[in-house]
Symmetry: C2
Subunit: 431 residues, 2 copies
């Protein structure tokens, strides 16, 4: 039997236990498929006493992360502690020591990824299939399956918590808070769900995908992010009437090979019949449009120990399959500092605008005039009966308009006497 790939695991929580379980249960299959076994040699975690749902690893579990990182026997390190620090430091130390690293830590990568890749010496890889889309083999699809393509665009539902909440709001007509409470009750949302519902987690993931696809040093701070907290049952009712679904999308696109890249995260109206629009509950789906391949879509479970351990193990197997600890043939380095982003005000898309206005003659004329003055033309309009004594909700869908113009128009509309509430904005994506 050839020598095993010796692996050290840092971070022994729910996901870590899933990885231990998979490496144990599928040990034979894994060894057969990569030509040598993957051997879990050490585990480091602050908590060495809690019983986890996996085989007994008492003999290799300790709180000695330094020892693990310094162990010359360890070929590769799995980082599953999450967050920026100390994860970043551990990953950098492992790479500098010539060990490859497998991580699911999208927050760390979206802030420090390019620097960490640059710090890795030849022979040490930083692999992160588990960081985006859970078990969906997306990083490999981009790196290998679509290798000959110029990527034109990515649109992704990459956060299961928010997709569950949106699916519930749509199906049950409930408010955001109720849907969130249900997600928490089912274990689909954290006690503090802020980073999910405000779009940050989606932005972490779209930053990674955009950096990989466009080979630019795109990080979390470069991305305009809007969350789902302000959506109301009214929005879902109007979206349905207009034959749309509402999804939290991460979007990255570039119109020409050397043109600027547009990256953003926002709740978005999608045609009800589109595949992305149909993605239910906690599932993830990512559409990648390449030239010449055209649109392709990848769907699966975006989180949880099962999906994540599948992705982590695929990275370990790629390392194990390389003879003599060579690097696997993946191109996951991002040129540090190289960046050409489209200013947010230059973005052109269609808009869903919700206004609360005085319901009297002249109101629509006032709204239309402001929009017209800012080069925004209206594609459709809905106004139903009155909601309060004197005010009415008006929904407008615009034709493609420039974000800068829309912001200017909204500024002007806020100042109108007929306007009674802060206008609410969603983007619209046609297929």
């Amino acid at each position: 039997m050839p020598s095993p790939l010796n692996v050290g695991l840092i971070g022994f929580g729910n996901i870590g236990a899933g990885v231990v379980r998979l490496l144990h249960e599928h040990a034979e299959l894994i060894a057969e498929r990569c030509g040598r076994p993957i051997r879990l040699a050490r585990i480091a975690d602050i908590d060495t006493t809690t019983k986890r749902d996996c085989p007994d690893v008492t003999a290799i579990l300790s709180s000695d992360t330094d020892g693990l990182l310094a162990d010359p026997q360890i070929d590769a390190v799995i980082e599953l502690i999450g967050g920026y620090e100390p994860a970043r430091t551990f990953v950098e130390r492992a790479l500098r020591a010539g060990k490859s690293v497998v991580t699911a830590n999208k927050a760390m990568l979206a802030r420090h990824g390019a620097d960490l890749m640059a710090a890795a010496p030849k022979g040490a890889s930083l692999l992160y299939e588990a960081a985006v889309g859970g078990g969906i083999p997306l990083i490999r699809a981009i790196d290998q399956g679509l290798a000959a393509n110029r990527i034109r665009g990515i649109r992704g539902i990459v956060n299961g918590t928010t997709n569950f909440i949106l699916t519930r709001m749509e199906a049950k007509g409930v408010r955001f808070k109720e849907a969130l409470a249900e997600a928490q009750k089912r274990g689909y949302a954290e006690p503090d769900p802020t980073l999910d519902v405000n779009g940050t987690d989606t932005a972490h993931k779209i930053a990674l995908l955009a950096a990989q696809c466009f080979q630019q040093d795109i990080r979390i701070g470069d991305i305009k992010v809007e969350g789902i907290e302000s959506l109301t049952p009214t929005d879902f009712a109007y979206a349905k009437e207009l034959d749309y679904k509402i999804k939290l999308l991460g979007i990255a696109k570039s119109e020409s090979p050397d043109g600027p890249v547009e990256v953003r995260v926002s709740p978005t109206l999608l045609p009800a019949s589109s595949l992305l629009g149909q993605v239910p509950g906690v599932y993830n789906a990512i559409e990648i449009d390449g030239e010449p391949v055209g649109p392709t879509l990848y769907y699966g479970q975006g989180a949880g120990p099962k999906a994540t351990s599948s992705a982590v193990a695929s990275d370990l197997m790629a390392l194990a399959a390389c003879k003599g600890n060579q690097e696997p043939p993946m191109r996951l380095r991002i040129p540090v500092g190289k960046k050409n982003l489209k200013p947010i005000e230059d973005i052109v898309t269609e808009y869903y605008l919700r206004f609360l206005v005085t319901d009297k003659p002249g109101t629509m004329a006032a709204l239309s005039r402001v929009l017209g003055e800012n080069n925004i033309s209206i594609r459709s309009m809905i106004q139903h009966g009155r909601e309060r004594a004197e005010n009415a909700t008006v929904i407008l869908i615009t034709h493609a308009a420039r974000e800068g113009n829309v912001q200017k128009a909204l500024q002007a509309i806020r100042a109108l006497e007929v306007n009674k509430s802060d206008p609410f904005v969603l983007r619209v994506e046609e297929v």
Copy 2:
């Protein structure tokens, strides 16, 4: 600059021209991504005069396939002539000469794949990303992204021609022949569409996927195949009423690691809200269910020079990325002769049964009695007004039943006096 991967192309039709175009237009991107250029050194085709929609290749085009195969400069051969022979002979000669082969030829692979893989000496790979699902990087997803999983099942829409026809029949209420004529007019169906509409092409592809996923020598002859020619507008109307879509599915599954594999192709009712049910027009989508990853789905264009050239180029790039012409780390060998298939009569699924029966008292009782005697229980039934003077169409959806029992029941029903036409059978798949 490192030495290029020298490639010979056999078969210079529509797809071949697409590959030439892509290798030319993305030459720089390809060389950068795999660390060395891919150089198209020779093209062989019987037709050396027709002008193709690609850069001028007069200098390297000839009808001398033998010369191409014997050329020691050629590292890898692209086979794009299709069909069994002479494709098989060319591929075998190339492999035996130590050249890797990239092919889109699912028919050849579904008949001879395992033998060809076995004939390939160390260092020569047989890659076929383009043979299933066009540009969808599916073979790599199974081989690498899902490498740690035990695959439990595959369900795929892998023939764009039939999916276009079914989509039209559903949307327009037209008959099979009209939808086929439209597919031909648009270039989505061949002048002779037999192998598409009778399910053979789908069976070729599901044979390849099943062999890869279950590591068994599953070939085209092992698969029970039903086509879409007998579907009527009535079936689509009833499917809609029952909230189903009708898709031509290739299915392969295995309940336990060493259990028998069930492989079949048939038009199938799928829940209208399922992603597979929503796949429109000429698109392909394949759902792969793995343990532990759960269900994943892959979607994209399944045919045409653009999608196919993307897949062919990804295989060439995998070869080029290997230093010293080593094999890329893919496990695409099938153990010749190893096979454990579930007998078709043991398959258990739900059924859609369409009968034309005499519309008089006692008819339903007669049908129900035969079904009951064969352990088939009815989940729902539809019967609308009379279609002919005395006959009525009856649709039954069964609970899960054994195929052998269903065939026995249909045999008995054919003999009933009340039965006026050959019963028509579709399978039903829940999500």
